[in-house]
């Protein structure tokens, strides 16, 4: 997955972790960063030049995860050299693919101060739809089926989005409800059937085995998703506005941002990405029943939170979320290698989440202090 671009991230010109919340930018003024900032100062987009402190904080935050990841990999590799073999790295990337894609979509929803708990059910529904299409219409070309799988996810996303943005119902409640509903539909539809590898064309199952420059195709797709979402959030007006909506919905509405549309869109994108994850799941595992993706939602939120996406909106980047997903997957893979009892795994993940949000809190306090220390505070 994003392993490639992430490892490049902090060293190279930093595909800029998204700006500090746009909402705060005009209000705060800091002293210039004394040239200590990262070299590529192609920063003067709209929003003013002083998002840098915030951005540096984000970078520190994401560097922290990266450091943890590197440390984990290094320690594991020392203890068990096989961990860095080509196959093992490929498997790690492949294993992190689904979580990364889901974490990217979830981050976009979280940034607008919403949450989507139904992703696990949506992914399961889409995966089963893919399998069933292959069984029912053996002649259907693979790309059509894949597209259909993504569209199933999109449709689920639209349902969530309409309920949250148009009916103005709290996202936590809506998506908790649709978590049950989509899963129920999946069970009802599958009614005990299972789709097996033999039912699907070799070309489709082979997708997971294709490598581009040594990177498995699904991982490359995940990396592309991360880059595209990161690019959109940073460089498009509507992308920046997601941060504004999440930071201060009332203010966002007052300055004329179409808040409902900005809340709606991430749900649709997230649904589509969950659909894509379902398609990739089908290609990779080949055995599909109605339980695919059960309980995944909290792991996805955890990946985003560990990656520095604030659970109350307005801050965080998809790069961070992708790193979070990679770190969680790496922990999964490393613990058995380190001969740590696999029973410890969940406890470690829980601890990591707590450390992450604690760290975020500290960084936020420091930023606040520094911003104030910088003198003039805006209204």
């Amino acid at each position: 997955m994003s392993g490639t671009d992430d490892t490049g991230a902090p060293a190279a010109p930093a595909p800029a972790p998204a700006p500090a919340p746009a909402g705060t930018a005009p209000r705060t003024r800091t002293r210039p960063p004394n040239g200590a900032g990262p070299p590529p100062e192609r920063v003067e987009e709209h929003g003013g030049g002083d998002v840098r402190t915030g951005r540096r904080i984000r970078q520190v935050r994401e560097l922290g995860i990266l450091l943890a990841l590197v440390l984990l990999v290094a320690v594991t590799a020392l203890a068990s050299p096989g961990f860095l073999s080509g196959q093992s790295v490929r498997d790690l990337l492949l294993g992190a693919t689904l979580l990364t894609i889901l974490a990217v979509g979830q981050s976009m929803v979280l940034i607008t101060r919403n949450v989507d708990l139904s992703v696990g059910s949506v992914m399961g529904l889409s995966a089963f739809a893919v399998g069933l299409l292959f069984v029912s219409f053996p002649g259907l070309p693979t790309p059509v089926v894949m597209l259909a799988g993504v569209l199933v996810g999109t449709a689920c996303g639209v349902v969530n989005g309409v309920l949250v943005a148009a009916a103005r119902v709290p996202a936590l409640v809506v998506t908790l409800g649709t978590l049950y509903m989509f899963r129920g539909i999946d069970f009802w539809w599958a009614s005990g059937r299972q789709v097996n590898a033999a039912d699907m064309p070799e070309g489709f199952l082979g997708l997971a085995r294709i490598s581009l420059l040594g990177i498995p195709l699904p991982a490359a797709i995940a990396a592309a998703v991360v880059l595209a979402a990161g690019w959109y959030l940073r460089n498009y007006r509507s992308g920046r506005e997601l941060y504004a909506v999440g930071s201060e919905p009332a203010a966002a509405r007052l300055v004329g941002i179409p808040v409902d549309r900005r809340v709606f869109a991430p749900f649709v994108v997230n649904g589509s990405l969950a659909g894509l994850a379902g398609v990739l799941y089908a290609a990779r595992f080949g055995t599909l029943d109605a339980t695919v993706g059960t309980g995944l939602e909290l792991e996805v939120v955890a990946a985003a939170v560990v990656g520095g996406v604030a659970i109350f909106g307005g801050s965080g980047t998809v790069y961070g979320a992708a790193l979070g997903a990679l770190l969680l997957s790496a922990i999964d893979a490393a613990l058995p290698m380190l001969r740590v009892d696999s029973f410890w795994q969940q406890a470690v993940v829980g601890l990591l989440i707590l450390i992450s949000i604690g760290l975020d809190r500290l960084l936020a306090l420091r930023t606040a202090r520094r911003l104030r220390g910088g003198g003039s505070r805006g209204a």
């Binding site: 409640v173 049950y180 129920g184 509405r253 309980g295 659970i311 029973f343 989440i353 949000i357």
Partner: protein, 351 residues
């Protein structure tokens, strides 16, 4: 989305729908809405019990009522403190994991030869400590409870596996396991119904009849203002999380004895059922609104529908669709109605 923790001013904007945006009239409108919500959930409960008694063979019997109560016992217990937590605008997603960890510790201590009379209070105490950890992270460290309790949900469940692995401890004495599901003398109701009733009365008394309880609504609506008005927001919230953990620990003991099996994966996923029941009962996820009778009705409504549909041989797939639909409709309907009403220039219709 998640509960508002600070600056309540922001919460007026798009997300929290049920809270009308303008001043004086809204207080009354909100109160009437609250009444209708409560009344409609209780009405729905009565209607579904009547319908099930008439239409579903085997529903209207004391034996079945006993089964129904045992089915929802853990959810009902945990929903009580959860209601108070959500009213203050926080949430506790770690309850099911607290239950699981308590159960695992209970099993391990039993294997080590500790007498049950010591184990039970220890386990309830453990629940209190786990709740206090949540509470401290939320109040002292100032972290959002949604994120904190997702973290401790993973942490506590993980520790449960560390303690007991994938083993199950099941050789508890029958006098205890049978006792857990024993019926009240002369009735088909399990004694836990009495425990739930007593606890519910205590929580309802605290919530609705004491200054502390009323301050919970104030905290949920506007934490900052409440703080200035002299209520210790921090202490109140800390105690609520402790109460939540304590009850979850007690529910862990009960669950273990009810099923006679201590396992690390006991009650996995129960937190979502609890939250669903509380929200169905009319508590606002943004805090400041809700009442205990509604929540109990919500718990019983879910239990009744599931019990009746099972007796009518409706497949479990449909059960989960119904649960989800009920939850969404219960929130969409009143908020949409409220908006329609608010759009009209005329004052809100009398309720």
């Amino acid at each position: 989305m998640g509960p508002e923790v600070d600056t309540p001013g922001t919460s007026a904007a798009p997300a929290p729908p049920a809270r009308p945006r303008t001043g004086a009239r809204t207080g009354a409108a909100l109160r009437s809405l609250l009444h209708t919500r409560e009344a409609s959930i209780i009405g729905a409960l009565i209607a579904s019990v009547l319908a099930a008694s008439l239409l579903v063979e085997g529903f209207a019997s004391g034996r079945n009522a006993g089964f129904l109560v045992l089915d929802v016992a853990a959810i009902a217990l945990i929903a009580l403190p959860m209601t108070l937590v959500i009213i203050t605008g926080e949430i506790d997603l770690s309850v099911a994991s607290t239950l699981g960890l308590t159960s695992a510790v209970m099993g391990q201590l039993w294997v080590l030869g500790v007498p049950l009379e010591t184990i039970v209070p220890l386990c309830v105490l453990l629940g209190a400590v786990l709740g206090a950890v949540n509470g401290l992270l939320v109040t002292v460290a100032g972290l959002p409870s949604l994120a904190v309790t997702i973290g401790t949900m993973a942490l506590y469940r993980g520790l449960a596996y560390v303690v007991l692995g994938d083993r199950a401890v099941a050789d508890f004495p029958f006098s205890w396991t049978g006792g857990a599901t024993a019926r009240l003398p002369g009735t088909d109701l399990p004694w836990v119904a009495l425990l739930i009733a007593v606890l519910a009365a205590v929580f309802a008394l605290v919530l609705h009849a004491t200054p502390v309880g009323r301050s919970l609504y104030a905290i949920g609506s506007n934490a900052e203002a409440t703080r200035f008005s002299g209520v210790s927001v921090r202490w109140t919230k800390l105690w609520l999380f402790v109460a939540s953990g304590t009850v979850a620990g007690g529910a862990g003991v009960f669950w273990t004895l009810q099923y006679g099996s201590a396992r690390a994966d006991n009650a996995f996923g129960l937190e979502l059922s609890v939250v669903a029941a509380v929200l169905l009962g009319g508590v606002s996820i943004f805090g400041g609104r809700g009442a205990l009778p509604g929540v109990l009705a919500g718990v019983l409504l879910l239990g009744t529908i599931r019990n009746a549909l099972r007796l009518a041989d409706v497949s479990s797939d449909v059960l989960s669709i119904v649960t989800g639909l009920l939850l969404v409709v219960s929130v969409v309907l009143p908020t949409t109605l409220a908006r329609v009403r608010a759009r009209r220039p005329r004052p809100a219709p009398p309720s």
